[in-house]
């Protein structure tokens, strides 16, 4: 009897299903129609991409201090680099830039700590970010305390104003949103209908009309001679608008809490506010974070609308710079820069919220 102890080595897989060739066959040339599509679309993409890269990077100018330095025919990023400080700080006095920088650094540090998994005492840190930090930031930005020079709000502008609008809008709308959401789920008919009406009215009208209302009608509503700050009016409008959207996010989170939790809280003899504050909201808020981040993204993009009521956020300040006679004709560069800044912020936030959603999605449901 002959027994062959030597195992015959495995055959390599067919070359056409593995490696680069296999990948190409599977993903780009799986059928005749697909192959034609790939070739045609690939040609269109490449023939557009090469001039684009050329324009953005290869033949562009980056350094200089006037339009005479833009000689090579590509994008003239000199326009951006020369005015970068204005785009970030607005008309803030140059000697006080450190105040905005401090806020930027603190905000970035706090957000990093909140996102990082292993940070201890996250709850306290979050409370600090939402309650104490805005006060510090206000005194740093506006001044008027601790020997800081007062910087009037009409000097605020650029990216820092965009961030102020978005952050204040989201932080200020949180408590209102919680109250409105609880009101909409309350069993008291008057409270419920008032909350529902408030939410649906603000969600049904465009933000522009709210901003117009805040800038034109609000001064009529407050008594007498007190003239309200333009930025404050815009912030009030944004907060009212945003709290309606926030209320719906929070309501979604509240609905996701199983009924047993409400019943258990009641069985323990907790009253309404205690059962909400100690049992329901802590669980619901965690579920709401992705939704809150998504509304924050929407708000962040919507802050650009304040340009219509005459505030100089990032888009408005670039738009104003475009009409400077020294730099006429560089609108594409200006818009691409603003788009890039907004895109970086919004894209990273949306990726964070998606990752968080996947993490919170523990097992139940379809995928």
């Amino acid at each position: 009897m002959i027994v062959n102890d030597n195992k015959i080595p495995d055959m390599p897989p067919p070359a056409s299903t593995v490696g680069a060739v296999g990948w190409l066959r599977k993903n780009l040339f799986s059928s005749w129609a697909n192959s034609i599509l790939t070739v045609v679309v690939g040609y269109i993409v490449i023939s557009n991409l090469i001039p684009l890269i050329d324009w953005v990077f290869l033949t562009s100018d980056w350094l200089g201090d006037s339009r005479e330095d833009c000689t090579s025919g590509g994008a003239c990023w000199v326009f951006i680099t020369v005015r970068l400080e204005q785009f970030i700080y607005g008309f803030y006095p140059e000697s006080e830039y450190w105040r905005i920088n401090t806020i930027f650094v603190m905000l970035a540090g706090l957000i990093a700590a909140l996102i990082f998994e292993g940070t201890p005492k996250k709850g306290w840190l979050g409370a600090f970010t939402l309650l104490i930090f805005p006060i510090i930031a206000f005194y740093l930005l506006y001044g008027g305390a601790f020997d800081l020079e007062v910087v009037e709000t009409h000097k605020w502008g650029g990216l820092s104003l965009t961030l102020v609008l978005a952050c204040v809008g989201i932080v200020a709308s949180l408590p209102f949103g919680v109250l409105l959401a609880l009101g909409r789920r309350s069993n008291m008919p008057i409270v419920r209908s008032l909350s529902t009406a408030f939410i649906e009215i603000w969600r049904g009208v465009p933000l522009i009309s709210v901003l117009f209302m805040a800038s034109v009608m609000l001064p009529l509503f407050v008594s007498g001679e007190t003239s309200m700050d333009k930025l404050l009016r815009a912030l009030i409008g944004i907060t009212m608008f945003q709290s309606a959207y926030m209320a719906e996010v929070i309501r979604g989170g509240l609905q996701a809490i199983p009924k047993g939790q409400y019943e258990a809280a009641m069985a323990l003899g907790l009253n309404y506010w205690k059962s909400m504050g100690l049992i329901i909201l802590p669980q619901a808020l965690k579920l709401m974070i992705p939704g809150i981040v998504n509304t924050f993204i929407a708000l962040f993009k919507d802050t650009s609308l304040v340009l219509i009521i005459g505030l100089f956020d990032l888009l408005a300040i670039v738009q104003a710079a475009l009409s400077d006679p020294k730099w006429l004709g560089y609108s594409v560069e200006g818009y691409v820069f603003v788009a890039f800044v907004f895109w970086i912020f919004c894209f990273s936030m949306s990726r964070y919220s998606q990752a968080l959603e996947r993490k919170l999605h523990t097992g139940h449901g379809a995928r």
Binding site: L28, R185, S186, L207, Y335
Partner: protein, 396 residues
């Protein structure tokens, strides 16, 4: 439920009334009502005194005053002698025009991109992903400015217009020949409706035949043929009762023909591209939500790929797609108010902008404008709820 928290039933005789949840709820609501009414009353009285000191008239009398300004694009006859009431209607129609066109275009582009995102061709799917991730993360206002200032702005003036056939493209807009209908044209219209009726009959006949014999008739292409051929034949028999009004360069601008102003083009481009990116994501997640077993079962029954998508997957996906799609439509209509930034004469621009500046009657005008958007929102969501109910799964 929190609703149940206050409903503990205690013997009414022993509890003090502030410990009785029902009575406490009534007291709480009375306080809320007093607060809300008080605040509103305070605002109203302030507003009245402020209006008086500033000498601004109140009421809706201004609606019958002559407006005194022209509007770039009007769907109904309008000039400076018409009243502010007409201005309101013109603005409203312009808003509805851009909203309607935007919804149609965004739906088409969004569905194409959503399906492309799921293509098994790597290149197509990644391109769709790049499109979605780029355009939904850039503010809409910026996109409107980009199309208006950076793309349509540098077009040549009327004298150096770009000729496309008998259409002209310049920085004042796209001038196309306009059809002029002559007296016999209503024959063609009648023929068209007759063709629609014929198609409807054909579809029913086909269904019956398929039920009886299992054979199918190329219903789609034959319907297209009928819809084109019947009106065309009638058109020639009626003696071609239609002519074209060609745009001509007279002086500094074109006269005659149709014009699509660049403000409308820029606004539509931006609204469509921005909203379609969101719709594409909705379509993608809707299709992904359909169980893979459905596709496999359909293939096992020998149904072709295209028919599987059309008859099995899309109808089930629509249930998931419709609710978020509604809110995107509403967003698009609300976002069309950004028109005011580039001067497209929509409701916000001509009414809340120009009319408010001329009359100063902020309260009436802002309330009217908001009421319009609120009504549109409520109507669209009511329609979509009704449609959703039809499409929803009949639970047994």
């Amino acid at each position: 439920m929190p609703a149940d928290l206050d409903q503990s039933s205690a013997p009414a005789s022993k509890t003090k009334f502030w410990n009785d949840p029902d009575k406490r709820a009534i007291l709480f609501q009375i306080i809320i009502v007093v607060l809300v009414v008080g605040t509103i009353g305070h605002f109203v009285s302030n507003a009245l005194t402020n209006l008086e000191t500033r000498g601004i008239t109140t009421g809706f009398g201004f609606l019958s005053q002559s407006s005194g300004f022209d509007i770039l694009l009007t769907l109904i006859p309008y000039d400076a002698t018409y009243t502010f009431g007409h201005t309101f209607v013109v603005g409203l129609l312009n808003t509805l025009l851009v909203g309607f066109l935007g919804v149609v275009l965004a739906t088409i582009l969004g569905f194409i991109m959503g399906v492309a995102r799921l293509s098994n061709n790597w290149l197509i799917s990644k391109l769709a992903m790049c499109y979605i991730e780029t355009f939904r993360n850039i503010p809409l206002l910026l996109q409107i400015f980009f199309w208006y200032v950076a793309v349509l702005g540098p077009l040549p003036g009327p004298r150096q217009s770009i000729e496309i056939g008998s259409a002209f493209l310049n920085n004042r807009g796209l001038y196309t020949p306009a059809p002029v209908f002559e007296s016999g044209f209503w024959f063609v219209v009648v023929a068209f409706f007759a063709a629609i009726a014929l198609c409807w009959y054909l579809v029913r006949w086909n269904h019956r035949r398929q039920d009886l014999t299992g054979q199918q008739f190329p219903i789609f292409w034959s319907s297209v043929g009928i819809l084109i051929a019947v009106p065309l034949v009638v058109y020639f028999f009626a003696g071609s009762p239609m002519s074209w009004d060609y745009p001509e360069l007279k002086g500094f601008n074109f006269k005659g023909g149709n014009v699509i102003i660049p403000e409308l083009t820029a606004l539509l481009l931006a609204l469509t591209i921005y909203t379609a990116a969101f719709i594409a994501e909705i379509v993608r997640s809707g299709i992904e939500a359909v169980n893979k077993g459905q596709t496999e079962a359909s293939h096992a029954l020998g149904i072709s790929n295209a028919k599987t998508l059309r008859l099995i997957v899309i109808p089930q996906a629509l249930r998931v797609i419709i609710p978020p799609l509604t809110s995107q439509y509403l967003n698009l209509i609300k976002n069309s108010s950004l028109a005011t930034a580039i001067g497209y004469p929509d409701l916000v621009a001509v009414f809340m902008g120009t009319t408010l500046n001329q009359t100063g009657q902020a309260i009436e005008i802002i309330f009217m404008t908001m009421a319009v958007y609120l009504t549109i929102s409520l109507l669209v969501s009511a329609f979509m709820n009704w449609y959703n109910k039809i499409m929803a799964l009949a639970e047994r």
